[in-house]
Amino acid sequence: MAKATVPIVDIRDVSKVFKLQDRSITALSGANLSITKGEFICLIGASGCGKSTLLRIMAGFDQPTSGEALMWGKPITGPDPGRGMVFQDYALFPWLSVRDNIGFGPAARRLSTAEVKATVDKFIDLVGLQKFATAYPHQLSGGMKQRVAIARVLANDAELVLMDEPFGALDAMTRERLQDELLEIWERTKLTVVFVTHSVEEAIFLAGRVVVMTPGPGRIESDNVLELARPRDVASPEFNDIRRVLGAKLHSHHSKVASAPSSAV
């Protein structure tokens, strides 16, 4: 089978149940999602609907309780440099400079010193942090830290980038700049991106496809392909039409929640 017809990620009927001492929580129930290489997908949904859980399963940090998660048709059994996660709280190595954070993956892959240096230079340029190459993470602003986190994943040749509310902690202006930069990188590198956000607006601005999830228990409510031309104008009527439709889907569970008491089993 040619690679093009195999999805880069295939989530088949995946459920995840967390067992606590006195009860268990169904974080994700029967999720199906097939992602084609090069897509930009946003996951949106209320808090607790299983977005992070789904992302962590794709990353290989967690295993599904039932169903299967495949990358290029093979089960995802653990974390892998091919799939990079960008965490909301950055998770940079505080003892390493910007350079060494970005070079961490290439060095772990045992590239030669010269290759590591070349890779680091390339990605420091890409995220515009040349002036901060020798700074430590605590000396950077949130936006700069998130640029390092993105560069760190890209420097590792990740073809799938998983981002869990990466811009959630940033101010509005920094967030908009990073959104633009991320789109530019995505268009240039043909990455596949799965991006979790709380913001409908952010999802519509970024995504080719918006997956709406609902809680109680966490499920995929709908899968929406966006045909809007890029660059997108958040003030356009088309943008607002989509915002209204997705907003309605996002809140559709409220009526159901009234009858279905809780996600706890």
Binding site: F87, P94, H138, V153
Partner: protein
Amino acid sequence: MTSWRRLKPTALALIVPLLLLAFWQVATVNRWTLLIPTPYQVGEYMVDFAVGGIYDDAYSGTLLTHLLASMSRVYGGFALAASFALPIGLLIGRLPVARMLLDPFLQIMRPIPVTAWLPLSMILFGLGAKSAFALVCLGAFYPILLNTIFGVRAVDPKLFEAASMLGCRGNAQFYKVVLPAAVPSIFTGLRLGLGLAWFVIVVGEMTGVPQGLGAVIMDGRTLSRTELVICGMIVIGVAGYLSDRVVVALGNRLLRWSPNHHG
């Protein structure tokens, strides 16, 4: 204005010692106590202790000898403690089996003060330098151990996930994540340990060693020469302080990356 800002910390730091000195002066001059010499007498004796030429007794000009003897025990005992506490701390922090095996035992041993070990230590290691080493080592052991365990256990779990998704797994994570993440805590342990090594030096040198600041203080007590005792105390205080400043300066260089490590 700017020079005052520069001098302010020093000026503030001097207030309490100077008040104490004044009180000491007043108390001794007015003979509130007859057993404590005046600050001037102690100062004079300190000069004699350091370079001789005033009283010319058995202790004249011997400061350096005693200081070096104590320093060798402090740093030797400290190094010995670190060489045990670091690996044991890493083991307990990383391996649940090691923790279950050693932690309860060490928790019971920890509250026993170094002073209480003095008689046993003299039986086990004999009178003299070996005992002093052992006691100083014991004093420095626990802070290094506990801070190492804490540092190793307190690593942000996200960093392990970040490392493994970047291709660094298994044992490599120990060197690339656990150790560097634990360095600030280990450093704090070493600093506290060295401080305690100075703190217990007198007890360590109660074991019948001929030289050392602790030995001088014990001699001063037996001979009722309080000025000798006070000189020994001052030298220990100053030496311990300088030793700590060196460690802090090292730490500031080594831990530039750490936001909460600028002592």
